[in-house]
Every structure is written in C-alpha cells, then in structure tokens.
C-alpha cells in the first residue's frame, strides 16, 4: 500500500521551499544550543502573571459583536447562563437550573444569586433581559439570525428569567452556552456604545478575569476579579500576546518570554519537547476534514460507491506522512469528541474491499470525478487533496483536482446538487453542538451548501430530536441519526483535526475545549 505515498510526497516546489526554510530554522535549537531561561517580559512586582502567545486575535472582545477566534479571552471575562464541560455538555453556569414548561416553548431559568459584574453592580434577571434585548433588538449581533428562535425574554423575578421560543427547541440550553450568548452588563454596553464596547468592555463581564487593556495587534491584559462568584483564579494577571507566526511563538516560549504558546507548528514540536521544561499538548478538536460528495446524481448517488471511496483512503498514512502525526482517524459524522457525538467503526483502509464495492455498484473500471478545494486554508490541504487523488486512483477512480477561491467554493456549494454531478469538495467541518452540526450538514432542509443529501430516516430522527425534551431520548435519537449517516457515507472522512499547544512545565490546570476556547479558571503557576 505504501507505494501510493510516493505520489503525494512529490510536494510542490513552494512546499519544498517552505520546508527547506522551516526545517533548518526549527532545527537550530537542536544544534547543541542551550536554552537560557532569561525572561524579558517584565515581572511586575510579585504578581503571578500567565503569559500566552496566541496566533489569532479576536476581531472584537464584545461577545455579541465578535466572531472570534476568541481563544483565551472571552470565557475568562464573560460567562453564559449555561456553562459547558470539557465535552461541551451544558451544565449550570450563571443559571443554577432550568426547566421546560408543558407548552414545549417556555423555559424557566433560575439565576445564581450573589453574582456581581466587574464594575460591582449585581447580576439579576434584568441583566439577562438586557443582554438578550441587545442581541435580538439591535443590529449589533453578527449572528442575530440564529437567535431568531428566541421570541421573547421575560425577567419574571429578580432571579427568574423566562425564555419563549418560536418553535419547540430542545437544544436551547446548549445554544445559550455559546459564547455569543454571553451575559454582559447592559448598562455599560448602553453607555459606551457598540464601537467602544467592542474594544474596551471594561467592567461588563462576570468572569474570573477582568479586562485591563487591549492593544490591537499586540496584547490583551486581564486582571484577576477578586469578587468572582466561584473559586478565585490562582494567577493574578494574564497577558495574551498576539503573534501571527508559529515560529515566532516557538521562539518566545523557548526564550522564556511566554509560558504558553498556542498552535506551534508541527515541525517545531520536536525541538520544543527536547528542551525538557516545555510540554507539548496535542488535543482533539470538534473539526473533521471532509470530502463532501454531490450525492443526488451518479456516480455518488450509490451508497456502495461512497463507502468504497471511504475504504480507499488510508487515514493513518495521511496523518503520519502529511499531518506530522497531528490528527486522528474519523469515527463519527458528528463533531468529534462532543457530548452527544456517537462513535462508530472507522472505514479502515481496505482497497480490496473498496474495489469489490465499486464492482457491485457497477463501476468495475472506476469513473471520473472532480474535487474542488481552496488551497492554503489549513496546513497540508494541498497534500491531502493530492493524497485523496492518489488513493482513489488505486481503485480506478480518476479524480481531477481543482483549486478554487473561497467565493467560488461557496457559490458552487450553493448550487443545486444536480448541476454539479461528479463533484466533491474538500471542507473542514465542526461546531460546538451536535444538533446544530447534524441539522446543518445532513438535514435535507438545511440552509447550508447542499450536497443534495436527503435521507427521510435522518430527517425524521433529527426532527424528533429537536423537539424531544427528554435528554436521554434526545441523545438516543441523535445517535441513531449518526449511525444512519455513517453507514450512508454522504461524505468521505479523511481524518479529524487535532490542535497543539506548548506550555512550560510549571503551568498546570489549563483546560482546552474542543472548540479551541481555553479556560483559565484553574490555571496555576508553581
């Protein structure tokens, strides 16, 4: 089987140049250079400061206006009614509990008492109503459309809030756990106005840290909030520096300028590990790479063909030779590793079985098809596309690769499936809620780019889950839907994406959620 690797190891010249430069530089620390632990970042007084280098900067730190990536900052400063576990399962947050009434539309949330905002004002049902009025009734919220399921928010008593939805929506608690549903101090938001609040929402959160300053393209500084309603954070201060280059972030942690470096490059991991005082964490994310087939017309309208294409791909080979071992085999059509996501037997590499399936589907000589993808969106995308081409050629499927720009990708994705027979598109898919994920990718009513996938059984299961308020029943429905989809294979799943992070060994308690948000509540520095 390994012969096929040759095909995609012929990387483009650009890739070679990239590696030729990246490798010597990343290798420099290996050339017997010692790492001095000098620190340039000012250790102000006796403050315990956590210093982080992140590659991406949020576009706004107003949870309602911003679309992220938020990384560390948003959950440190703001909280939601419903909190999430490490598997993004909804658990009590600013609300201590909730229940649905008999009409299946009205939810009652009981709020935690004794919570204060960073400016000292109390958190009450009015704050909740104010936050949602801002989301629903102004043009501020960038994803306002998703919230249109909420018809009304009523502050019934100081610590009781009612939400009324337009239709039965069992996922409301999970939805309210999203950061874009965070509770802000509406008085401060009103006083500052959206532009100012976007950059300096000082005093407006209830989280364990409060904003000191944000210097765009440079850093965000946060202080511990001493009146936090849960256990106080162990560090006094957090400084997040925005460093776009992965190699620069590696240099910073090697030089001792930061304690945590987010997303170091795969090539740099080895030299970081070799220093002895830096740990590298590889964690699962909700995201999978998918090759989404236009299933409405031949040849992809046959299940055997789709399964064959899955069996033809060697996930492990792709992960080890292209992704530098950062990735896992996909075992679910849902968001990986989430509460509610079910895992199944993977389509393990088996070209013989794949060929047999093609024969029984009536394609003994294979067929022609095309894959469109946007180059350069994630590290290794070109090579993964080439790998798919090489693997499929082994079972006689002749794949043409077509690089397109993002606009074309979206435009073609919006065309009815019948207009693009024989097409598949390379995507990355992941979201923080299993229901949302399955609905938008596999429900035939989905507003998202149509692959033409329509399976009545899946539709029924997803509809039933959406209006089922019994948690166990709902999870069972989602699991059943995922099983049907997995068997049906409307996508080819080359692998699931993992994330990386490096931290100095004296840091503990860092929690990374699979949606890439980071929780600092329990971080300590020894």
């Amino acid at each position: 089987m390994k012969t096929s690797h040759l095909a995609f190891q012929e990387t483009s010249r650009r890739q070679l140049v990239k590696h030729a430069i990246a490798l010597p530089v990343a290798g420099l620390p290996l050339l017997g250079l010692s790492h001095q632990q000098k620190s340039w970042a000012a250790q102000s007084g006796d403050l315990i400061t956590l210093r982080v280098a992140d590659g991406q900067e949020p576009n706004s730190i107003d949870p309602h206006q911003g679309t992220g990536p938020f990384g560390i900052v948003i959950y440190s400063m703001f909280e939601t009614l419903v909190a999430v576990t490490e598997e993004l399962e909804p658990v009590p947050g600013l609300a201590t509990g909730w229940q649905i009434e008999d009409d299946s539309l009205t939810w009652t949330f009981h709020l935690k008492e004794g919570v204060t905002f960073h400016d000292g004002s109390p958190f009450t049902s009015e704050s909740v109503k104010g936050s949602f009025d801002r989301i629903l009734n102004t043009d501020i919220h960038i994803r306002k459309g998703s919230f249109s399921i909420i018809e009304e928010v009523i502050a019934e008593a100081p610590y009781v809030v009612k939400f009324r939805t337009t239709s039965p929506y069992s996922e409301l608690p999970a939805f309210l756990g999203e950061r874009s549903a965070a509770i802000i101090n509406p008085v401060i938001a009103e006083n500052l106005g959206p532009e100012e609040f976007s950059v300096r929402p000082v005093g407006a959160g209830t989280g364990p840290f409060r904003l000191v300053e944000w210097v765009p393209n440079d850093h965000i500084t946060m202080d511990r909030f001493d009146d936090y309603h849960n256990d106080r954070a162990a560090v006094d201060q957090v400084i997040v520096r925005f460093v776009p280059e992965a190699s620069s972030r590696e240099a910073m942690i090697l030089a001792g300028e930061v304690d945590v470096a987010m997303s170091p490059s795969p090539q740099g991991l080895e030299s970081l590990r070799n220093t002895g005082d830096i740990s590298v964490v590889v964690y699962n994310t909700v995201t999978s790479v998918t090759s989404e087939l236009e299933v409405a017309s031949p040849p992809f309208n046959q299940r055997e063909v789709r399964q064959a294409l899955n069996y033809a791909i060697d996930s492990q080979g792709i992960i080890s030779s292209i992704m530098a071992d950062i990735g896992t085999e996909t075992t679910t059509p849902g968001p990986v590793g989430l509460w509610g996501t079910a895992n199944f037997e993977p389509y393990t590499y088996d070209p013989t079985k794949a060929r047999e399936l093609l024969v029984s589907a009536g394609y003994p000589d294979g067929f022609d098809c095309s894959l469109r993808y946007v180059s350069g969106r994630w590290a290794g995308d070109d090579q993964v596309a080439q790998a798919i081409q090489a693997y499929w050629s082994q079972i006689g499927v002749r794949l043409t690769l077509q690089q397109v720009d993002l606009a074309t990708q979206i435009e073609m994705g919006n065309r009815p499936s019948e207009e693009t027979p024989g097409w598949t598109s390379l995507q990355t898919r992941g979201s923080s809620s299993v229901g949302y994920h399955l609905d938008r990718l596999f429900h035939s009513n989905s507003a998202l780019p149509a692959t033409g996938y329509k399976n009545d059984e899946v539709d029924q299961l997803l509809d039933a889950a959406r209006s089922s308020f019994d948690e166990d029943e709902r999870l069972a429905l989602y699991e059943a839907a995922q099983e049907v989809i997995w068997e049906d294979a409307p996508f080819v799943w080359p692998f699931s994406v993992q994330g990386t992070l490096a931290h100095r060994n004296n840091i503990s308690g860092l929690v990374i959620l699979p949606n890439l948000d980071v929780l600092l509540h329990n971080v300590s520095i020894s």
Binding site: I21, V25, L28, P29, L33, S34, H35, Q36, K38, W40, A41, E57, N59, S60, Q65, T67, G68, D139, I142, R143, K144, G145, S146, P194, E195, S198, V199, V215, P216, N217, D218, H219, R241, F242, V243, P244, E245, S247, S248, A251, M252, L254, A255, G256, E257, D405, L406, A407, T408, I410, N414, S431, R440, A447, L448
Partner: protein, 307 residues
C-alpha cells in the same frame, strides 16, 4: 524651483487616482467572501445575506469605488469590516511603530551601506572589498523572514540578549530594524561602490590628483560629492521596499504596525483596511520620491528645472 515643485505635486494627482483605482479593484478581484469573514464559518446562509446587505457588499463595484474615493478625499477611509472601527483610527494607532521601524532601518542602512560602499571603492578588490561585496550578495539574496527568524533564534532564544518580538522600548526595535535594513544595506553598498568607482575614473579626479591634492580631500571633495548623487535616488526607491519589508518584519516580530495591519486585513478580506493601508503606502512612496527629486536638485545644480 517653486514651479518645478508645484508641477511635480500636480503630477501626483493623476498618479494617485490611478493608484487608488488599482488599490480598490485589486481586493475586489482577488475574490473571497467578506460576508463569510464577518459572519464566521458557522453563519447560516440567511445570516450571510443579512451581512452582505448591511455592508453593501452586493453593490456594483464602480458605485462602491465612487463612495469610497469621495470619503477618502475627506479623510474618511471607512470602517473595518472586522473590527468595525474607523480605518483611519486603526492606521493612526499603528503608524508610530512602523515609522520608528522604517526610519531606524533607513538610518542603519544609510550609515552601514554607504560606509561599506566607500570602503570597498577606496580599495577595489582588496580583502575588505571582497568581504563587503560577499555580504551584500548574501543580503540581497536572503529573504527578510529568513534573516528575522535566524536573528530571533540566535540573539533572542540562544543568547537571550534581546526580546524576540513585540513593541516597546529601543530594545524591541533592534532585531526588526537590523532585519529590515539588511537588504537595503546590501543595495546601498553596491550602489555606492559602483558609482564612486565610476567617478574615480573621471578626468577631473585625475586632474585633482595631478595638481597635488592629498587623497583624502580628493575623495571627499571630488569623488563623494559626485559619487553619492545616484545613491540618493536609490534611497528613495529603498524607502518603498522598506515599507513592503515592514509587512513581513512586523509579522515575524509581531509588532503592531501598518504592515501587520495590512497582512491581517488581507488574510481576513477586510477590504476597507487593505485599501486604506495601500493608499497610505502609495501616498508615502510618491511623497518620498518627490522629496528625493527636490534633494537631488539641491545637491546637483545641473538638474535644475528639468522634469
């Protein structure tokens, strides 16, 4: 003299209009969906449509251009799609780190480059000349980010002498300024060397020597005075490449400057920011070249009034 300057300034106007059209269309033609950037990958089609409507992304291009130019002339470059802050504000908060970097790098390049060129020219084919020219070969050939990363690893990580990135005092300026100046040093050194050598061969230099002038005064008064004139042109051109080099340097050294703003803007299809920054860079380049022309005229009276 005044007439010349006025003519040159008037000539800038059509040039800037052409540049503005180019700047405006380049991002539009580059494709990519700004609505998707604003909405995030989780946004539904409905939300994307709302965003497109709200930001006028669906209006015809010439209409968008007209609005943009009318506002730009009045100092309003629009709002960043991503942060929703005024573009002028985004630029204002980042102009200082970039100016600091560009001027420091220019100063280093002038000092070191011209000095190297002169040293080489005084003793052509000597050891010093060979070393200087070897350095300038390497300097021209090495990509800016390669130099930057090498300096970060040796001086920042290995020796721990200087911070690897960020902005702050002078210490933070050293590595990026050196990185940025290397290729300009190389070009200035070669330019100075060749134009100086050119002058040395002229009759009036031989005459000066023949009339018994010492080598020092000959070099300062006759050779350099004339040999450095072409160098001034190169300085003007190099300023432009320093600005483009700053784009990379600021990213590698994570400095919050104009270049970084541009890179992030391009990455996220933030049209107003990219257009605003490019326009600013174009204006700066054109202005610097105007200044160079004026200086040129002051230094070399022969050019008076031409152009």
């Amino acid at each position: 003299m005044t007439g010349f300057i006025v003519r040159r300034i008037l000539a800038m106007i059509p040039l800037l209009i052409i540049v503005s059209i180019f700047v405006f269309s380049i991002m539009q033609l580059a494709g990519g969906n700004a609505a998707l950037v604003i909405g995030g990958t989780d946004a539904t089609q409905e939300e994307l449509a709302q965003i497109t409507e709200r930001y006028g992304l669906n209006r015809p291009m010439h209409e968008q251009y007209r609005t943009w130019l009318t506002n730009a002339v009045q100092g309003d470059l629009g709002q960043s799609l991503l942060t929703r802050r005024p573009v002028t504000e985004e630029i204002r908060t980042r102009i200082l780190p970039t100016a600091e970097l560009a001027f420091t790098a220019m100063a280093i390049a002038l000092l070191v480059g011209v000095l190297m060129g002169i040293m080489s020219a005084r003793r052509p084919n000597s050891l010093i000349d060979n070393i200087c020219m070897l350095f300038s070969f390497i300097g021209v050939a090495m990509p800016v980010f390669g130099i930057g990363l090498a300096l970060i690893y040796f001086l920042g990580v290995h020796l721990g002498w200087l911070p690897t990135g960020g902005a702050g005092g002078l210490r933070y300026l050293v590595l990026p300024a050196i990185t940025l100046s290397v290729s300009s040093i190389a070009i200035l050194a070669r330019m100075t060397r060749s134009s100086t050598l050119d002058v040395i061969r002229h009759d009036y230099v031989r005459t000066a020597r023949a009339k018994g002038l010492a080598e020092g005064p000959v070099f300062r008064g006759h050779v350099l005075r004339n040999g450095l004139i072409p160098v001034i042109t190169v300085v003007g051109l190099e300023f432009g490449s320093l600005l483009s080099g700053a784009v990379i340097t600021e990213t590698v050294f994570s400095r919050p400057g104009i270049g970084r703003l541009l890179v992030e803007g391009i990455r996220s299809r933030d049209y107003p920011v990219v257009q605003g920054v490019l326009l600013l860079l174009a204006v700066v380049c054109v202005t610097v070249n105007l200044i160079v022309d004026i200086v040129y005229m002051l230094v070399d009276p022969r050019i008076q009034g031409v152009g």
